[in-house]
Symmetry: C2
Subunit: 168 residues, 2 copies
DNA sequence: GTTGACACGTTACGATATAACATACTAACA
DNA sequence: TGTTAGTATGTTATATCGTAACGTGTCAAC
């Protein structure tokens, strides 16, 4: 039941953020190139902000950082950059939090599920292909064709389960 | 939007709404009784509004109807009633739409998935226990304990698949 | 060198949600 | 019966999230 902190999803284990951010950023560059879309300065910077913060961030929070870097100061600036990232699989939108998080494995076909700890606010993206397949068959049963899906769970992460009083 | 908001489909098949609304309302009464919680007039009315509209409704839309019936006119009135319904399994919150929908089978343990048609805005609640189980094992693999989850898919409902030009 | 597509910026506003506080009802009980 | 504690409802005010609409700059295609 209790996971090894070194084998859980990225968000729930310790590691070198700046290292993984660089890697993903490089993948994002290559991926955009291949797809023939432009990872412009604002977009790239927005992705970098998400990657380095290494958590889910609200659009206005991202906007603030972008503004500090000399980009526009108005909401559409952030929303457009973030929407681009989501549309191209470089970030995910977490509806439950009204927030965005960098995708940790862009380019690989995956239908992620998010696990949100309500005690420490950590968010983990986990592969959930089995969940995706279950959804597909549920959809098929009612004749629905799925284009996108979000799967989000709220609960306690491994660390917070061990410190019950810290939970809210 | 659906042509007639009061008869637009929640599930993707036609049936007698008023009949099913009455039934669910009765179940909700019994369920609240058993749980020792109070389905007060605002709460019951909010549920009734959701049931009769038979679709996902925004909090402000529900608020408007409640106000027409002599209840409070301010947002917290609606949010509190809706939160109560959600907490007690009488309604579901659909994050993707910032909306709420009555649960069509309250009391039965279920973890529903929602299928949202982006052409006609219909929303169907489907049993998705297989999805729930898949989530449980994904969670277990990372040591996460799930308390609540949302599973929402966007795509095309059976009717809209047949009318491609109607899709947005 | 004009056109068209796109990106980026702005202003202005709309939509969603909650904090904080006042008042009333109800149930338990001295 | 009066008091008290808990819960429910209502208010005002404000926070937070998101988008419409429009102007300007850039750049590649023709």
């Amino acid at each position: 039941m209790t996971a090894d902190p070194d084998t859980g999803p990225l968000a729930f284990r310790s590691h070198d953020h700046s290292h993984c951010a660089d890697g993903v950023l490089a993948e994002a560059d290559a991926l955009s190139e291949r797809q023939g879309v432009k990872l412009t300065p604002v977009r790239r910077r927005a992705l970098e902000i998400l990657l380095r913060s290494h958590r889910a961030m609200g659009a206005y929070e991202v906007l603030e950082r972008l503004a500090e870097d000399g980009f526009g100061k108005q909401p559409p600036v952030a929303y457009r950059a973030l929407d681009f990232l989501v549309d191209h699989g470089l970030a995910h939108r977490i509806r439950r939090l009204n927030a965005f998080a960098a995708c940790m494995c862009p380019g690989t076909a995956h239908r992620p599920a998010f696990f949100i700890c309500h005690a420490c606010n950590a968010v983990a993206e986990a592969p959930a292909d089995a969940v995706g397949r279950a959804m597909d068959s549920a959809a098929e049963a009612i004749g629905f064709s799925v284009e996108r899906m979000n799967v989000e769970a709220v609960g306690l992460c491994p660390a917070c389960r061990e410190v019950p009083h810290a939970a809210d």
